[in-house]
């Protein structure tokens, strides 16, 4: 269920929709892709209302669904070629297979691919039509860290090709490294939006932790210099040690937890 969600994605930008499960990420993306009808509101994708999506609209978008869905008995190059044939001006299938790093699996049956390879095949199928806009619903969920990094490289490559990308994720790190702008979705609403750095700037920037009399003390502050100075001065004057002191810049993850779990 979405509530008056406001969202504008600019051409050429990578926009990440961030949110916990059930926040409405997939619903949002599927409305934009033309899979779902909305109850109300105004939606334009590439100047078209996706509810009236026709072949021309579908030729301009690429789709990575939340779960991989391809014929298990086809070979990688067969399915990429097949999909290329669906589009009016496709990219070279072999080039796309190389781009997503499936060269060695070119002649392998889809059913023999690993989860990560299957996801890269999804990326290939989203790209082979040479779309202007690519939707990716949790493109790296379930990946191990190495596979995730590889997928990120591919997505950065797509961005360099000038694609507009709307991706959903529940990994902060993913949003932080890939996205020009992030929208945090919670309970069907966008609760924060902006470039990752700006989002952080608006919030308490630094977290200081230490132990006093065996108890953990956490101080959030946007004036770390002054607070640290006070803390250390007091400690020095009292002749005590600030045990296990840590000073950390707050990450998007903290911000995310704050806005998605807050009241």
């Amino acid at each position: 269920m979405l509530h008056g969600l406001e969202l504008v994605v600019e051409p050429g930008e990578v926009f990440a929709l961030l949110g916990p499960n059930g926040a409405g990420k997939t619903t949002t993306v599927e409305i934009l892709e033309g899979y779902r009808r909305r109850d109300g509101g105004h939606v334009r994708v590439l100047g078209t209302d996706p509810e009236e999506a026709d072949a021309r609209f579908r030729a301009r978008i690429g789709i990575v669904l939340q779960s991989s869905a391809v014929y298990p008995t086809l070979k990688v190059d067969e399915i990429v070629r097949l999909f290329a044939g669906y589009y009016p001006s496709p990219r070279d299938p072999d080039e796309v297979i190389t781009l997503v790093g499936l060269d060695e699996k070119r002649r392998a049956r889809v059913r023999t691919l690993s989860g990560g390879q299957l996801r890269r095949l999804d990326l290939a199928l989203a790209l082979v039509g040479d779309p202007e806009l690519v939707f990716m619903d949790e493109p790296t969920t379930g990946f191990d860290p190495a596979a995730r990094r590889q997928a990120w490289d591919t997505i950065r490559g797509m961005r360099e090709l000038g694609k507009t990308i709307l991706l959903t994720t529940h990994y902060m790190e993913e949003a932080e490294t890939l996205a020009d702008r992030v929208g945090i979705l919670r309970g069907g609403r966008i609760v924060a939006t902006g470039p990752p750095r700006d989002l952080l700037a608006g919030h308490v920037a630094v977290e200081i932790r230490f132990r006093r009399n065996g108890e953990e003390v956490v101080i959030d502050t946007d004036e770390p210099t002054r607070v640290l100075h006070e803390l250390t001065s007091e400690a020095v004057a009292a002749g005590v040690e600030l045990e296990a002191i840590e000073v950390q810049r707050r990450s998007l993850e903290d911000l995310y937890l704050e806005v998605t779990e807050g009241p």
Partner: protein, 247 residues
């Protein structure tokens, strides 16, 4: 576009060994087995092997155009393949046309093999009116294909698809007289036979195969098959789903 999609559908069919076995090989296997058991007996006044061959032509149509098609589409729907395909510029009408055309190709090949096996292995006759027979099988295939599209609406999971669809078409095949003469069946099965589209397809096929009747003699049967085909079409247009039904 249609030609390439048809080619892909053929490739998919023959690479899916389970589907290829149950829809293509099984009717031929039945013909060999049952033909060797009672091919030499007399059923409804004709040689058993000829009666069986005609019946199993109809069975092949149902197994392929109805059961095989429906199971394939449910599995593709539940695995998300249909949803993914619908997200491409390929028109859904072209996709479904290719799937159905591919099914017709399989039926045609199967009929040819059945006729050859019937003639040269179990000593059945050649069809008496081949052209009318071909038309009857084509009409039956199209009618059962629309019913196959329609029945996907009541199957909610890929796991259940074989069970549900086999539970429909196997008893139906039995009751409609594929293996035995309908006259020899108990009353309640005969009641099913009077509404089953397969009964009418088999009447048409046997009439043309055995007695040399032509299409002109099969007005009632053709009307019933067209009627069922339209029912299937209306249901399919209204309730066919492209996205997984199981949440």
């Amino acid at each position: 576009m249609l030609a390439r999609e048809l080619l892909t559908q053929q490739r998919l069919f023959w690479r899916s060994y389970e589907a290829a076995f149950f829809t293509f090989a099984l009717p031929i296997l039945f013909l060999l087995l049952l033909g060797s058991v009672y091919g030499d007996e007399e059923i409804d006044g004709v040689r058993g092997s000829t009666f069986l061959l005609a019946g199993l032509l109809g069975y092949g149509v149902v197994a392929t155009a109805f059961a095989g098609l429906a199971i394939t589409l449910v599995v593709r729907r539940e695995s998300g393949v249909l949803k993914r395909v619908r997200g491409t510029p390929l028109p859904t009408s072209v996709y479904l046309a290719a799937v159905i055309a591919s099914t017709l190709v399989v039926v045609a090949l199967e009929v040819i093999v059945q006729l050859l096996v019937g003639r040269y292995v179990i000593d059945a006759d050649w069809p008496a009116s081949p052209a009318s027979l071909a038309f009857a099988l084509l009409l039956g295939s199209v009618a059962f294909a629309t019913l196959g599209l329609a029945v996907t609406a009541v199957v909610r999971s890929a796991e259940g698809s074989s069970a549900v669809i086999n539970a429909i078409y196997l008893p139906l095949s039995f009751a409609s007289g594929v293996f035995f003469s309908v006259d020899s069946l108990p009353g309640f099965l005969q009641a099913i036979a009077t509404v089953s589209p397969l009964t009418y397809l088999l009447d048409l096929v046997r009439g043309e195969f055995i007695e040399g009747r032509t299409l002109a003699d099969g007005g009632t049967e053709i009307a019933v098959l067209v009627g069922w085909g339209l029912v299937g079409l209306v249901v399919a247009l209204r309730w066919f789903h492209w996205e997984p039904r199981e949440a």
